[in-house]
Symmetry: C2
């Protein structure tokens, strides 16, 4: 794999490059243990620090992850495919199914740390939901855990004036969830906008999502609108990017 370009690069970079190529070629599969520092020192005739730096490059890129006392392993990447459009179809929540049941295939997804509170609306939320200054929102916070690993934090905001006294203010919103309840109130959400950003997690997000080094988060902000164009919910989500593929299928 040696070429003129690579040869001008530091040794640890060349070693990292050749390990990355081996991973991409399938010589090391997901979950496989990579050569350790001692192996790299022997193979490439380098110092321990150089071997360590090479493995550090792959860790920082999120290609590999260290497991305490066991070595460095190729990241096991079995992301959930989140079908952005199909999952929000009316026949989904209209028939009493939860939105995320469209995603999970044979995986085990549980929702934990559910809290529901009445709060004053953050400025950005109040502006989009077109609330008066003193209006409050119902804030639903929850965390989603996939196969034992936390993958998603979600916070929904709904105008309190709309949802007061309904199951939306309870932990369990009932069959079909909050959207089915909004439909019963005469405000079925029929149009959605999802905005996707990506950045590195804050320390706090990384802790809550048990994230490995070198892994970004997706931020998805969804706004749900009624037929008349009234925004009835904002859902701000933070996703472990290594756990998701976001898919959108649509017609030209």
């Amino acid at each position: 794999m040696a070429n003129t370009d690579n040869d001008r690069r530091p040794k640890y970079q060349r070693i990292a490059d050749s390990l990355r190529e081996a991973i991409q070629a399938g010589e090391y599969g997901p979950g496989d243990r990579l050569p350790g520092e001692n192996d790299l020192m022997a193979t490439y005739g380098v110092a321990r620090m150089t071997a360590r730096q090479a493995l550090g490059v792959l860790r920082d890129e999120g290609v590999a992850e260290a497991r305490k006392g066991a070595g460095v392993f190729v990241r096991e990447y079995r992301p959930l495919r989140r079908r952005g459009i199909q999952r929000l179809a009316q026949e989904q929540w209209g028939n009493g199914r939860s939105i995320w049941s469209a995603d999970i295939e044979d995986r085990n997804l549980v929702v934990d740390q559910v809290t529901v509170v009445e709060e004053s609306a953050p400025d950005r939320v109040g502006a989009v939901l077109d609330l008066a200054a003193e209006e409050t929102v119902c804030v639903r916070r929850r965390r989603f855990v996939l196969d034992g690993k936390s993958v998603l934090l979600a916070t929904s905001y709904l105008p309190m004036s709309l949802v007061t006294g309904t199951a939306i203010t309870q932990e369990d919103t009932g069959p079909g969830g909050a959207y089915a309840r909004l439909a019963e109130l005469g405000y079925p959400p029929v149009h959605f906008r999802e905005e996707i950003r990506s950045r590195m997690p804050s320390k706090d997000e990384a802790t809550q999502l048990s994230m490995s080094t070198g892994t970004p988060v997706f931020l998805i902000c969804r706004t749900a609108y009624t037929e008349g164009g009234r925004p009835v919910e904002i859902n701000e989500m933070t996703l472990d990017a290594a756990s998701y593929i976001l898919e959108y299928d649509f017609e030209a």
Copy 2:
């Protein structure tokens, strides 16, 4: 901002947290200079190394960026809003407009480093395009530069058997681009699937996109299908995540 939780955290973390809060509260806007090491040392009574670590945290998160000799500044984030669905509407490319002209508002977007070559198809591409073992693809590679900053690398694959002899094999594909040419060939793309992933860039990607530390890339893989469900193009894109908001608008 002191609370019991924070007080157990290392000093540099607490300083980073309070700077981050000040940024989020708008005390420091995009492009503003943050307090330097000397300022932080005086304000918090800490050593230079602690001040440096605090600023390092914000850099690693992509919240701030260092400018050589000038200090550390709040990241200027003026992302392009990429409207995933509207931009691919038939009236867009059907009327001779380029797809990305839907995105750019008043910004200056230029395409550079265009190369068009015939190559054997990578396995994953051949599998999706349903190619025979010996079939080749037309590979179109280009880079997009927004307001002088490279933001997107795109590589399209089209079956050579379909596009041979057409403007798709030329650098300039003509009005409406490759999709308009496919329509003329009797293969208008009418259905699209976009898959979005996010991860840290490789060294090479970071260089090509002139990326700051602590910034991930979006990977978008788009497949274009004809009415009959035939896949006619795969477009693999790598985007500087700090330069984009991906937006999808759709009906329930």
